[in-house]
Amino acid sequence: MLWDDYVEDITEHIRSRSRAREVRREVRDHLLCLRDQFSSEGMLPADAEAKAMEVLGPPAVLARHFHDLDRPHRPLWPVAVTVAGLLWALGSMGVPGAETGTAVFLLVWSCAWGLVHLRSFSSLLHALRAHRTITSGVDWARLIPRAWPFAGAGAAFGVSFALLYGLAGLAFFGILLAAAVGVASFIAAARYPWLAEDDSPLRHPLGTGVAAVGVLVVMILVMTFIPGANFAPAYQFLAPGQHLTYVAMLHLSFGASIPASGVIAALYFSGACVADWLSGRLAPPEDAQTEATLSVE
């Protein structure tokens, strides 16, 4: 019975059910082996069982390591659902193209997530050994994490921007969506297990969030200077409170702490304000604000 609690404490936070099932069986088998070993050394059965758990270590420590390992398996659907819900809300408010955008977003999300899982990228770099200062696959593995999140975010943003803004003509909505996909893919990529080989600050939830905000600010700055882009409708809906809520939810979905999410949200809002100021739209027209309030009501 004691073992059941011990094993359950280790596996309860593993999100992948198949992994949790395997770990449960492996740990239990290991406990049995240890118990047999200690019993053969003359230990009483109860003492042998307790000693077996002691040798395996505190369940909280093991759980934390499995929890870290579990991150890449998270489908991150809470984030996708959050964004899709936001888009659906926009659609219900009469924003043109929102329904199509929601479907496209989920499609792009799935594709971006699939790209993140392309392990062949690592193998390819390893096989190339193209750079003379890099002598081993381990070196490659340590370099990939630094470049991958940014490359992934850029690619996801570029593809979704082309689809939504360029081809579908979704204007501000397409740009907004492209930015959301870019930032989401950045965070997803920054959480990839290749980072486990690296001591990059991106590995820390706060580091990931700060870097994500940096990427977002760059995206906003880029979008600000797109000729003809009209952000006024976007700012009607994405009021400051919604900014904070959205980003906090996004960050919390990745298991970050609440204070870290607060810092991220504050930075995000600051970046949005700077971009807003740069675009000359710091204060939306009063009639637009009134319309937005009425439409929300």
């Binding site: 280790i10 992994r19 395997e22 770990v23 069986r25 492996e26 740990v27 088998d29 290991h30 049995l32 082996c33 240890l34 040798v55 395996l56 270590g57 420590v61 093991l62 390591h65 499995f66 870290d68 390992l69 890449p72 392990r119 193998s123 390893h126 081993s136 696959g137 381990v138 297990p193 486990a196 080989e197 690296d198 001591d199 590995r203």
Partner: protein, 116 residues
Amino acid sequence: MRNVSKASGRRLVLLVLGVLRDGALHGYAIARRITEDSGGVFQPGEGLLYPLLHELEEQGSIRSHWEDAEGRRRKVYTVTPQGRGRYDDELARYEAETRATAAVLAGTEGHSLALG
């Protein structure tokens, strides 16, 4: 897993891949083999061995299958060709670090002797 990036974690990766190069083993056997072959010098945190094994499997360095042994179902691990390549890389790194450490210590000892 953060501990893999540390020196002790890297050594454990090397030891696990090295042990598995000789044949398929389950987790408990891997831990025993490392402890016994090292004369008790290396005693891997046995609980932490499993997150490492799962991580190595995810990275493609090892693979696993379930088999029946002594009336129990056990998950047995084997090293992959990719894992053998990684083992060579880790071994080369370990040897280079060991040589460098020895060189530094030799210099220190020589200096001490000269003073003495």
